[in-house]
Symmetry: D2
Subunit: 263 residues, 4 copies
Amino acid sequence: MAGDVPIRSSLGWSSADRVVVHGYDLPGQLLGHVGLGEMGFLSLAGRLPEPDEAAVFEACLVTLVEHGATPSSLATRLTAHGAPESLQGAVAAGLLGLGDRFVGSIEGAAQLTQEAWDDAPDADATTLAARVVDDFGRERRPIPGFGHPVHRPVDPRTVRLFEIAEEHGRAGRFVELMRSIADELASRRGTPVPLNATGAIGALVGELDLPWQAGRGIGVMARTVGLVGHVLEEAAAPIAGEIWHRVDEEIRAGASDAREGDR
Amino acid sequence: MAGDVPIRSSLGWSSADRVVVHGYDLPGQLLGHVGLGEMGFLSLAGRLPEPDEAAVFEACLVTLVEHGATPSSLATRLTAHGAPESLQGAVAAGLLGLGDRFVGSIEGAAQLTQEAWDDAPDADATTLAARVVDDFGRERRPIPGFGHPVHRPVDPRTVRLFEIAEEHGRAGRFVELMRSIADELASRRGTPVPLNATGAIGALVGELDLPWQAGRGIGVMARTVGLVGHVLEEAAAPIAGEIWHRVDEEIRAGASDAREGDR
Amino acid sequence: MAGDVPIRSSLGWSSADRVVVHGYDLPGQLLGHVGLGEMGFLSLAGRLPEPDEAAVFEACLVTLVEHGATPSSLATRLTAHGAPESLQGAVAAGLLGLGDRFVGSIEGAAQLTQEAWDDAPDADATTLAARVVDDFGRERRPIPGFGHPVHRPVDPRTVRLFEIAEEHGRAGRFVELMRSIADELASRRGTPVPLNATGAIGALVGELDLPWQAGRGIGVMARTVGLVGHVLEEAAAPIAGEIWHRVDEEIRAGASDAREGDR
Amino acid sequence: MAGDVPIRSSLGWSSADRVVVHGYDLPGQLLGHVGLGEMGFLSLAGRLPEPDEAAVFEACLVTLVEHGATPSSLATRLTAHGAPESLQGAVAAGLLGLGDRFVGSIEGAAQLTQEAWDDAPDADATTLAARVVDDFGRERRPIPGFGHPVHRPVDPRTVRLFEIAEEHGRAGRFVELMRSIADELASRRGTPVPLNATGAIGALVGELDLPWQAGRGIGVMARTVGLVGHVLEEAAAPIAGEIWHRVDEEIRAGASDAREGDR
């Protein structure tokens, strides 16, 4: 019956002279000591990151902030065109497209590496990589985190992300497994297959001891920062109206070719 | 006519071996060098912050991440209850409530301080403060950024934010004006009126040379980070169902008292 | 203090064997008796419409369902492209663009006609029309509901909507005022200015005794129905990917012309 | 390469004197002839419904408009509290919760009945019902569309929906299968298990020759109409603030009991 279950939350509370967030005193322990990225880690992990973890985590976030024209950023700009009074609405519209197709591949890469090691903690990465490639091949599914339409044969973001992970002692077995999968794919196909940035970040989710489901949260945090920039650029140098008019004109032209469509 | 206007954006572009964001080389100049908060400044200002600016800006963001139970975080949790498959949808629902009533007061405080100094650049802060209090009083509007239901007589976040601003040479005339308004209000009412965190951040928006409209963007970036945490806590320790059932039960009880409402 | 205020709602309640909506017995008085459009009127007015009101109200809704390519429908399709798993998210993204620029003009037209008659209930429509045109001209604001890029000199939807209103005895003083404004504009400019469908609907909001704020609600109800159709067509005959790739390619081309943008 | 694929849509187009929606002339063939519910059928099926289909479809929609306090309607009201300027944002927030847990059961019921008949078109409903109950039991999954916390032993909406379907010649094998499943469950458990309204609507989706995926679309259309009503009631008789304050107070009280949570 309603009322019997107490409503509790450990995320935050305050009193007249205190504000506590995740158990930390906000003014005394957080303000001036940590930045937005570290707060993101706190949101996902329930604890602040060590400095090495923070460095790797911030690099993951920064990678995802801004990708130029994407379905998500275009949805934000079109929404801002119609409702310029609501920045939050335009950003929300862009976030709603961060679903299975895009940010989902971070989760997918994180999940596959975490489950592979969970299933066979004592395996070596090469054997595991072959098994992963076999498994996905059998189900005719693409391996999340591999391939890129533009960044070929190498995604420069992956190179840099793994370099940062190494500098900070966080390039362990999840990174090793993704690299082994890339080798395995290259040798089977006879051509390099780029390990893209979402695959790299998926591996680093494991290195940071975060559950694979955190992948979507990382994407949402980072892209929000970028989408705010799109709302501002749309106000200053609009493109949404032009995109709309071109699409509309092309659809009209196609429709007038096909007026037999009338009933 | 559609097609005559070129579609341009300076936020980002990439080629096979390069990724450029706001004119910076992402792997070479941003990854490993800046964090999510600095990317937020880049989104709003089109340039990276100086270290002193970054310190003040990060403090503003961190302040806004997590406020415990708010209409916005409850909307996120209720949405996650109904659509647990979509983290992005639950976060978007929470962002949609960051409107005129809440995040609007950051914008309001930023706007009032910026317009006051624009109108009278040579005035002194005390005179200006009296004028602001007169103007709002005449229109019977509350001055944005003042008053708090819990943090009385002093909002501990404001104290710390202005301390950080002073350490970093960013406690200039916008901070001075908000402090003068607080003094003016206290003397007129005979009791201290807290300058709350949104008012403090509104002043710091000016100190960071950001337009007042950036206030809502800062709120959206920061709260996204906190809302992700609410989705995760809702999955682990749910409260949305209990909130729903209690409200539903109370409405049913009230309705059964008033069945004459039937037609 | 929290808890002192009872939580009440008169929209709906249920018990083991009853479901009551706005005071009507859902199975007995609504199912099989009314349609979705009449439920829309019930949501806005708190009562079911008379048959004549229903006819006019349904015509307003049907007019707004589908406008082909709009910023709103494109945002829906781009969102569905990224998150095909969430129909509700794609529709929500499209709704978020129904803001001041588009659906706002229904509200604007409804507001101007309602306020004009409220201010001068005994005026004649011609005098009032001249006053409205003067007032908007003085503030250099466009009169909401007039002008159309495609439907010139006459919007065929307006003709039909007013015809339906006449058939049902609902073409009263709000319709008369909008027609008088159209005449006034035509005589001042020496060329006809189309009274568009949002202007016609704005007038009919007044004829239906609905407050002008209902205009946005009508738009949101109707466009949801159309946006669901866009999600389904996007799944069957996708265009979002192509729109994205064209925009992306054009931005890349522009950026490569201007690489001095690098820092 | 971008630009090679033509952008086409058959949902709507217009020229100076025509507006065509799904191939119908909007002013001539739709306005004054059909209502919002029939437009919903057109959005889902690409054709207007026959009168018998329209009657059944409207009943499904009307059933779903308003359920009183739900996670979705509460999210709408909390969002309206924070951003009263954006009706569309508050409605969008509510729609985002129409996910797997709630509207998903319409889809689930539609899918199970459609797949059952597709797999065994010549079976009799009793045999098929036993097979469905076995299959779900083996996977320990609840059968979508059965059970209700309040409407026991019979959901009065289901009774009326099937009555309307019978009057209009649309109570065929999908309805028969759901009834057989209800009988099978009752006989196995020794107690009646209510076939709820989402289960009834799921069966009617099949009777209307709509694909099971249409279930979520029906829910989204109908609930939008109801959510607009919640925004208006929240403005006139607010409850969101009280809900928020009660939750906040309870969390504060719990937190102050557990301050050892501090770090």
